[in-house]
């Protein structure tokens, strides 16, 4: 089971700012073990953020995104107390969904 994300969402002047910290190794597939064997690629490929069933941000990642990916974006609307949900899926088909309550 993949590790949970840290999500922080705050609304100010009608705009909700969402900060996401995912926990993932983001292996490029180019690094080698000490004995020279290649570490297989393992990275998040897709991320999706939703508010009240509406997609507010969608991202596709390649191997160049840093380990434990960080994201920040802002969308209009969003009410304090309501939830933002974020999902990701990686190239092995593993996935994770977490929610955060919007703070004022």
């Amino acid at each position: 089971m993949p590790n949970p994300m840290k999500i922080r969402a705050t609304v100010k002047d009608g705009v909700t700012e969402v900060k996401i910290l995912m926990q993932h190794d983001m292996e490029t597939g180019l690094r080698k073990e000490a004995d020279g064997t290649l570490i297989p690629a393992w990275f998040i490929t897709e991320v999706k953020a939703q508010y009240q069933g509406r997609t507010v941000m969608e991202a596709q990642f390649g191997q160049s995104v840093s380990k434990n990916p960080y994201l920040l974006f802002r969308f209009k609307g969003g009410a304090a107390g309501e939830k933002v949900s974020v999902s990701w899926v990686d190239n092995k088909g593993e996935s994770r969904t977490d929610e955060a309550t919007i703070a004022a």
């Binding site: 969608e58 596709q60 840093s66 960080y70 994201l71 969308f75």
Partner: protein, 160 residues
Amino acid sequence: MSKEIDLNRRKALKAGGGIGLLALFGGLSLLRPTDALAEWNKAAFSSKAMDEALTGLGATAPESNATAIQLTVPEIAENGSVVPVTVSSSLANVEQISIFVDKNPNVLAASFTLPQGTEALVTTRVKMGQTANVVAVVKADGKFYRTAKEVKVTAGGCGG
């Protein structure tokens, strides 16, 4: 009388069928919660060169525009494995923001799809193998624009 029964039976079948279908879809979405995500752009993300990656995104020869796209990167990155990148744009109707590192083995780092109501701004962190250009490509009103900035990557962390 038989007609009436028949009618009721049809109604019941119809309703039952609907519930069955709903249950089926519900079950499927439980199994694969990420089905609704757009398909990963393998061609663009596997590209080894800028031109190839741009073509993979459908962004052949984007217009250079350093004023409408704000790209914020450090001048010098002491740690190439965590380079913060912020891209924002003053263009109207921004639909997509993509971030490239032109000397990485796979040049396309990330591509964001921003629906109406989401601001034209993203921040993330990318890996950089060596000193290279970070390139931001913004799609607005169906047209592609680009800007780039060099980031010096120092190995030892003693500054540049």
